[in-house]
């Protein structure tokens, strides 16, 4: 099984690479545009995928990936399922600060609440942060892009000395409170 490993390649100069994994492919492109547009100080390389494992033929040319973002649309059940199956293809070292979950449509009904709870439990199990985003307006996409860029800067090592990806993920990881667990 080819696992996606975090540190197997040399990082490129002044570049950060982010991988957006989404089953529906509707938010990916918008978010990618916003990410590239917002960051002026260093290059942002955005790669899009539907699910893991990534195709083997690109393995040599692919740069080192600094952040993997799983985009989950809470309105469809398949989104969450594909994310769960993709998680199996990640090396466990990735979870030390290089994985982030982004959920959309978290306010749209009762099923989304259940799925949100399950996403949060998943993220808490792997100790990764969960961001909620609103993808239908331009402002929402921009806001999500800014937040992702903050996390990307840290996990690519662009932030000053004291912040490492592991440290940030310990700070921002999703925690499931006891009343959620009782549900």
């Amino acid at each position: 099984m080819a696992l996606l490993t975090p540190y197997s390649k040399v990082p490129e100069l002044n570049t950060a690479t982010v991988l957006l994994v989404e089953n529906e492919e509707e938010l990916q492109s918008k978010l990618a545009n916003a990410l590239v547009q917002y960051e002026k100080d260093f290059n942002v390389n955005v790669r899009l995928a539907r699910k893991l494992p990534l195709p083997v033929e690109n393995k040599e040319t692919r740069p080192r990936i600094d952040l993997i973002v799983f985009l989950v649309n809470l309105l469809s059940e398949r989104s969450l399922q594909s994310v769960e199956s993709s998680l199996a293809h990640l090396h466990s070292d990735c979870f030390l600060g290089k994985v982030c979950f982004l959920v959309t449509d978290a306010r749209c009904g009762s099923h989304t609440q259940e799925r949100l709870v399950s996403v949060r439990k998943l993220a808490a199990a792997h100790q990764c942060p969960v961001l909620c985003a609103e993808h239908r307006t331009v402002d929402g996409v921009n806001a999500a892009a800014v937040r992702l860029l903050n996390i990307l800067k840290v996990s690519a090592g662009m932030s000053p000395i004291a912040t490492t990806a592991l440290y940030l993920s310990s700070l921002t990881r999703c925690s499931v409170t006891s009343d959620l667990e009782e549900d």
């Binding site: 197997s8 002044n14 100080d41 466990s92 070292d93 030390l96 490492t164």
Partner: protein, 290 residues
Amino acid sequence: MEQDIQCSRSSEGKAVLLERCEEQFELLQKLQNEIILADTEAYDDQSNEAVNRLIAITSELERWHEMEPKLLTNSPEVLLAVGKEEVSCHCNNTQEVVIVSKYKCSYRFSHNFSSQLQRLNSQLKMVLSCSQAKLDAQKKILKREQTWQAEKKEALNAVCEKITRLQRENQKSEHSILQDMKRKINNLKDYHGSLMEMLSDMLAEHFPLPDPQGNSTKKKRAAAYDAEIDLISLSEIIERLTNKTLETPHDPYVTTDDTFWPPYTEMLLRNGIATRCPEDCNKIRLEMFF
């Protein structure tokens, strides 16, 4: 792992920085090769994620303990430029830049740099005091509004109580008005009865009928003449007058005949209790007197 420093004052500074960059990059390559080697050897065991995390965090912690802060370069100009950029554009939050200064020119740099931080500090203090003042003002307003509300509530309570009281009074008056009236009527009747009793007692005591047995023989004939006729008492006279006035107000005249003892009628007429009728000299009526 390293920052690319974009501006530098002199080409020497640039060269120094580039050299440092090269050194770091070589280090990076070396470490990367070691990692790749280690990766191909080890097998990934995914079930121990928490243990993995623990190991990673503890090793990072050890590294931070060991690491000593050191100057990026020894050239003060470069350090100044780096510090300025650090403070002004790259960091949005306040961050610590630990600089160990050994030379007095470095002191000048750090002084300049620290003055910027001090300015930031004073600005933040101003903001803090301003927001504190606003908070106090808002608290005062809140207190005033609360007292006003309490007063209005009290007024409301008082008015509500009065309303309920009035409603209760209205409800019970329908039933009790009748009783009040009855009571009043009874009181008046009693009073009226007592007045009448007193009047009759007084009249009987002070205005008796003339004694038919005369004292002297001179008036015997007049007294005998009078005794033949049945005289009525003063109370009877007054009773007749009042009844006539009350029952037939359009004709209040009472005819005086021989049953009326003349001195009594004279007394009534003289004291203004009764008046003669203008047409007929034998008729008298009750007059309003005080």
